[in-house]
Symmetry: C2
């Protein structure tokens, strides 16, 4: 979604759009983000290169849209069991980071911040930030008053995100069974 639909003229091809996004997903899973080229996507989708550039300014924009369904994290629930909410937040994170397509795209969004700051920005604003706000709220509810200052809450969120990132995306450790429980007992020591 880049433009509004004009009233006249040939309408945008829904078929081509789907073919492009599907080809992007396929090439991402096959080759990874860095090795993905627009030319290969165009060839696989049976589409002209110009058509891709017509609707997406950058590779990052294109990839984020193609993986939208996989990388959206959702908001942390607000039940009357705040610790369960925090646990749900951790679960959402681990679950999302473990999806093959999401792991590739999230990693790329963070890693290419240097050369494509727009991609990192969009990823943060659209996917990380909403989750983070709701997770912070859950954390405040779950912590005792003397531990719920903003800086401590942000630190604990960094512990969660950083540890999950390290385990699932850097070390590529598929076994996440002990991870959630251990994170909970580190955040809420007995």
């Amino acid at each position: 979604m880049t433009n509004d639909r004009p009233k006249r003229g040939r309408p945008r091809s829904h078929t081509s759009r789907e073919a492009i996004l599907g080809a992007v997903r396929h090439r991402l899973l096959a080759d990874g983000y860095l090795r993905l080229t627009i030319e290969a996507v165009a060839a696989e989708a049976g589409v002209s290169k110009a058509t891709i550039y017509r609707w997406w300014k950058t590779k990052g924009e294109l990839v984020l849209e193609a993986a939208e369904g996989d990388i959206s994290i959702g908001l942390v629930p607000e039940t009357n069991d705040p610790r369960a909410d925090v646990e749900a937040a951790i679960h959402q994170l681990v679950d999302t980071f473990s999806r093959p397509l999401a792991s590739i795209v999230i990693f790329a969004a963070i890693a290419t911040g240097e050369s494509d700051p727009v991609m990192a920005q969009i990823f943060r604003d659209r996917y990380v930030y909403p989750w983070r706000v709701s997770a912070a709220a859950a954390m405040v509810r779950a912590l005792p008053e003397d531990r719920s200052e903003a800086s401590e809450v942000q630190f604990l969120l960094d512990v969660i995100v950083g540890t999950v990132f390290q385990r699932t995306l850097v070390l590529r450790e598929p076994n996440t069974v002990g991870l959630k429980g251990r994170l909970m007992s580190v955040i809420f020591p007995i």
Copy 2:
């Protein structure tokens, strides 16, 4: 250091070697890893491209060697105050990750694991692994017996590395004063 010195023939130019590695550091700080090109390094060093390819197979190899002094972490001390040793380990990590050149190169080594697995491998084996082994030993000494199983120690190391990585390299948070203390109290709750 790629080869032994042959006994005969023109010796390798020490001047060119230093000029190349210096240019790499300069371009890294100016442009970042992804935008660094071999051609630009050759031009800035006043050296032929072929000379660079003669001694370094890949960009990753070249960059790791150019930044060697900045990215080497050192081993965790072994005093009779094991908690202080763990604190020292955290300090080493934060300190290294905060150096401008190291932050660029470490980030690149992790981020390009997809397209340049050799760089990630070298980085892990040569710089991360030794620190990690000595940090694990310190952790075992510092933890009570009932918490010092291998999987728990590895998890706590991932918490440290992940959190520091998140704070310093992903979020680029320069303020690390509270970080070390908070990490300690998360690992050793009262």
